[in-house]
């Protein structure tokens, strides 16, 4: 490495000067001449047959250019999905609706005000049908959502999830045997991991401009996966992916809700093609509850069998997972991601059965963590409960069951390989820092005074950095979008003729600071100043083939590609510099914008001189080609497995049930860290979202399938006064899966936090007899749990 190393250092973000001055261009800020605006007519029923649609009045309304229904778009087929298990969504409801808010018609007019006026003039006749919202009712097929088909799409089993590739014995008989032993205790809890609305602050927005001359289309979309959207648009319209340019400019938060291909993305392209004008649609916040995917939504029973000395002999989880009505990009694969970390950081037999079930509600798909927060929640709640029942300290029970550092690489209970971990060291680092024994004493002293203080612990391991090429066979690819590529990373590093550097990457960030972190990687490798490096992302045509940003994958996969491309550029530049300086390439070092001969800092050339030579090939040594750039595709041999330990101190008001979060500590381990400021920022936001699930957020449907929480007025997001400052620290256990030793950190905070809070609140009221309270822990629920325990 070089003497100008910025790796591992706090570097202010390159993105920020634009964003703090209001110069950031999000989709709604991009303007095209002659734009029209689209508005959707949506179903008020969760299950109904459409008997007629009258669009005549709407078509005659001022400024209206077109009104489209299923009849106009049926030939395009349903909305494509990567993991196409279940019923795919029609682009516009075709004869029936399956959830409230399903789009029935699209109105295109001169502007959004006129389009909305006309949408109110579309008259739809519905014949309402039977609705199923409750997960247990849906699992029992009491009412079927799609004709005669069972609501159960599939069941993921821990030992049989990838039949024929990973074959494992069924652990259930062994766990059953442990249960029947005289010296074991079996504890069980049924718990709800409630439905959430991801709620990026920027609603989704799309703008399409079809060029009939080229037969091509440009689509601006607030997306985490521009390449996948480009593929899906191409497949739908029967044009190759190189005729579709999808641009994700600034993206105002993603969290999984923009990790999808949506009908509106297809439909604005269709309308633009038909009308010969650019067409825009911008989601309203209320619409986001109907038009964008939701997260979580599991009800399950976790069971642990173990001995009184804390040794766990078996863990079982059976859960019903809500898919909503239609399958989108990864819908049924979300529980699978939970299954990937079924046994967590523990060495004990694990049995999993996750039933993917449809209901008359909006589709679920990835939301920050996607299956892993759910899995960690059930595991860490039941481990905590087990510790309480056998009267052991929850930290000690965890330590008694951890995989040890010498066990790595670990073959997990479901046949995957964990790269590296040192869980006890990480937990001890947290316990030492918080002063665990003193905290417990403080809690107990407060309790003696009648105050309800609770201390909650959770540790976790997660899996991210997708991913290994072999997983393409499981649907971890964009094959359904006509782009049969594994989840590779890609990066192109080009030194320009003036010695500055352009980096193009295949990611689709939404606030993760890729322009800064990637520039640090390149600056460190080439000795070019941060200010002279520009990083571009989020464009399906101008950038290398990319998979996008999700699953905490970008740095481990695309970051590595850029790191490797940087190394190749450096190697070539050393040959050129050596030629210019009459020195051997292996003696060339790069620092401070220059290349110099090792030991002779004055024998140096500027990057501009190296680049000038590179772009004038007659000046190059024999056999060296012109140009100075490298393009690398990186396919990791494995996913990465970050881990961590979180703790919360809460106080419960015995009179009201109100929970006051007093302190929050986290010690996470995401391997090597390139920019600690950005990594901590990811953890802050992730932890906030986990706390929010524990205390505030819930997407509530009534029995008729109405979403009662579709506005921010009734979907309780945490505000600034809801949260404390977070106290963070880290251990560093690098991975050997990539040369940077990095694991990923986007979801870790969320995966570790919800159960930390619930464990703390239960701890505060356990002596009153409470053993579990379902999230969100709003005052009424906590108060009711205390009252129920008294009886």
């Amino acid at each position: 490495m070089t003497s100008t190393s910025v790796m591992g250092g706090i570097v202010r973000r390159k993105e920020d000067p634009s964003l703090i001055q209001g110069k950031g261009a999000y989709v709604d800020d991009v303007k095209r001449t002659g734009e029209l605006a689209a508005v959707f007519v949506r179903s008020p029923f969760a299950a109904a047959t459409i008997t007629s649609i009258d669009i005549e009045a709407a078509k005659a309304a001022p400024g209206v250019h077109a009104v489209y229904t299923a009849d106009d778009v049926r030939h395009l087929g349903p909305n494509p999905a990567q993991v196409a298990v279940g019923t795919l969504r029609p682009l516009l409801a075709d004869g029936a609706v399956k959830h409230v808010g399903e789009a029935v018609a699209m109105v295109v007019a001169e502007n959004r005000y006129l389009a909305q006026d006309a949408a109110d003039l579309v008259f739809v006749d519905y014949e309402p049908g039977e609705v199923v919202v409750d997960l247990k009712d849906a699992f029992a097929d009491k009412v079927k959502v799609h004709g005669d088909a069972s609501n159960i799409l599939l069941t993921w089993h821990g030992h049989g999830w990838w039949e024929g590739v990973i074959d494992l014995p069924d652990p259930s008989p062994g766990i059953q045997e442990a249960k029947e032993r005289d010296d074991t205790v079996t504890v069980s809890l049924e718990m709800v991991n409630q439905r959430l609305l991801p709620t990026a602050i920027e609603p989704r927005a799309v703008l399409a401009d079809w060029n009939s001359g080229y037969g091509s289309v440009e689509l601006w979309s607030s997306s985490q996966i521009p390449h996948a959207v480009a593929g899906a648009v191409g497949v739908t319209f029967g044009i190759p992916s190189n005729k579709v340019r999808v641009v994700a400019p600034e993206v105002g938060g993603g969290f999984g809700v923009k990790l999808n291909v949506y009908p509106d993305e297809i439909l604005v392209c269709f309308a633009s093609k038909e009308l010969g004008r650019p067409v825009r649609w911008t989601e309203t916040r209320r619409e986001a509850g109907f038009a964008s995917t939701q997260g979580r939504g599991w009800v399950g029973t976790a069971t642990i069998t173990g001995t009184a000395d804390g040794k766990i002999l078996g863990y079982e989880l059976e859960a019903i997972c809500d898919m909503g009505a239609y399958s989108h990009n990864f819908t049924v694969a979300v529980p699978l991601l939970g299954l990937f970390i079924a046994g967590g950081q523990y060495n004990f037999p694990t049995s999993y059965a996750l039933h993917c079930v449809v209901t008359n509600t909006q589709t679920t798909d990835a939301y920050r963590g996607a299956g892993r927060p759910e899995a960690a929640y059930y595991l860490e709640r039941i481990v905590d409960h087990f510790a309480r029942e056998i009267g052991m300290d929850p930290a000690d029970v965890r330590k008694a069951n951890y995989w040890k550092p010498e066990d790595f690489p670990v073959q997990t209970a479901i046949g995957l390989t964990m790269d590296s971990g040192d869980y006890e060291k990480n937990l001890d680092a947290l316990l030492d820092r918080v002063g665990y024994e003193d905290l417990k004493a403080k809690r107990d002293a407060a309790r003696a005074e009648g105050r309800l203080l609770g201390l909650g612990l959770s540790t976790y391991v997660e899996v991210c950095g997708f991913g290994p090429s072999a997983l393409a066979g499981l649907g971890f690819s964009w094959g359904a979008y006509g782009l049969p590529t594994a989840f590779n990373g890609s990066g192109v590093v080009r030194v320009q003729p003036d010695g500055t550097c352009t980096v193009t990457i295949g990611t689709g960030p939404s606030g993760q600071g890729h322009e800064t972190t990637w520039a640090q990687i390149v600056s460190d490798g080439l000795g070019i100043a941060m200010d002279n490096i520009e990083v571009h992302h989020g464009d399906s045509v101008d950038l290398p083939m990319g998979i996008g940003t999700f699953g905490s994958r970008s740095i481990a996969v695309d970051g590595t590609a850029t790191f490797e491309a940087t190394a190749r550029v450096r190697k070539k530049a050393a040959i050129i510099a050596g030629h210019l300086l009459e020195a051997a390439p292996e003696d060339i070092q790069f620092a401070d914008g220059r290349a110099h001969v090792a030991g002779s800092p004055d024998r140096a050339v500027e990057w501009g001189q190296i680049a000038e030579s590179a772009y004038q090939p007659h000046t190059l040594p024999e056999g060296v080609e012109g140009g100075l750039e490298s393009s690398v595709v990186f396919s990791p041999p494995n996913a990465t497995w970050p881990f961590g330990s979180h703790m919360a101190l809460v106080e419960v008001d015995p009179e009201t049930g109100d929970v006051d979060l007093l302190e929050y500590w986290a010690t996470d381990d995401c391997g090597n860290v390139i920019n600690p400021m950005i990594v901590d920022g990811q953890l802050h936001g992730g932890i906030a979202q986990g706390i929010a699930q524990a205390l505030y957020e819930e997407a509530i449907y009534d029995d008729m399938g109405n979403l009662l929480t579709s506005s921010m007025a009734n979907y309780t997001l945490p505000v600034s006064t809801s949260l404390p400052l977070f106290s963070l620290d880290r251990t560093v256990t690098p991975t050997d899966v990539n040369p940077l030793g990095v694991k990923g950190v986007g979801e870790a905070g969320t995966i570790g936090s919800a159960q930390t809070i619930v464990n703390a609140v239960v701890d505060a009221v356990a002596h009153l007899g409470v053993r579990h309270i379902d999230m969100p822990l709003r005052p009424k629920r906590v108060w009711q749990a205390i009252q129920d325990a008294k009886e």
């Binding site: 920027e202 916040r285 921010m712 007025a713 945490p718 505000v719």
Partner: protein, 166 residues
């Protein structure tokens, strides 16, 4: 209807529909797209601008209600090429990630520091309570406002926000 509104020091006279929201006037008539729309109900605060010295949510105000008013948006807080201390604080303290809530958050913070030059952490949290951020957990936003406050008071801003250099 004819309106006359001063935005970031420049006077604009426009003919607008009575139902045109102020945020749409700023974004679509004046092209000031720094002010964002994150919800329809006045909860998220991404559209916050300062009208006659008071932070308001411009998605919940009609353009005609702003007739004769002075409006400040995120585009107008810097002093030429020199960032406003609040902007500087957000940059220094990583007070933003996706940046979508940031213009509104900056305007609420500017207004807060104009009425309370030395707010406590609790007062900062109360001052930006009407602005939602989904990325930061508010941690670094609080630090950013502390930084800006110290700078505006002529103190060492890096001392005010202990985690800046951690």
């Amino acid at each position: 209807m004819e309106v006359s509104i001063t935005v970031n020091g420049a006077k604009h006279s426009s003919e607008v529909e009575p139902r045109l929201l102020l945020v749409h006037y700023l974004r679509e008539v004046l092209g000031l797209t720094g002010t964002h729309v994150g919800c329809d109900t006045g909860y998220c605060g991404a559209c916050t601008v300062i009208v006659d010295g008071i932070p308001i949510k411009s998605c919940s105000m009609l353009t005609v209600q702003a007739d004769g008013c002075e409006v400040r948006t995120v585009e107008g807080v810097a002093n030429g090429p020199e960032l406003h201390p609040v902007q500087e604080g957000f940059w220094e303290c990583h007070g933003l990630q996706c940046g979508f809530c940031t213009p509104g958050m900056i305007m609420s913070s500017v207004a807060l520091l104009e009425r309370n030059a030395n707010p406590s952490e609790t007062e900062i949290r109360q001052g930006i309570e009407g602005n939602l951020c989904r990325c930061t957990g508010y941690h670094n936003i609080v630090k950013s406002v502390q930084y800006a406050g110290a700078k505006m008071r002529g103190e060492d801003p890096k001392g005010a926000s202990s985690e800046v250099a951690s």
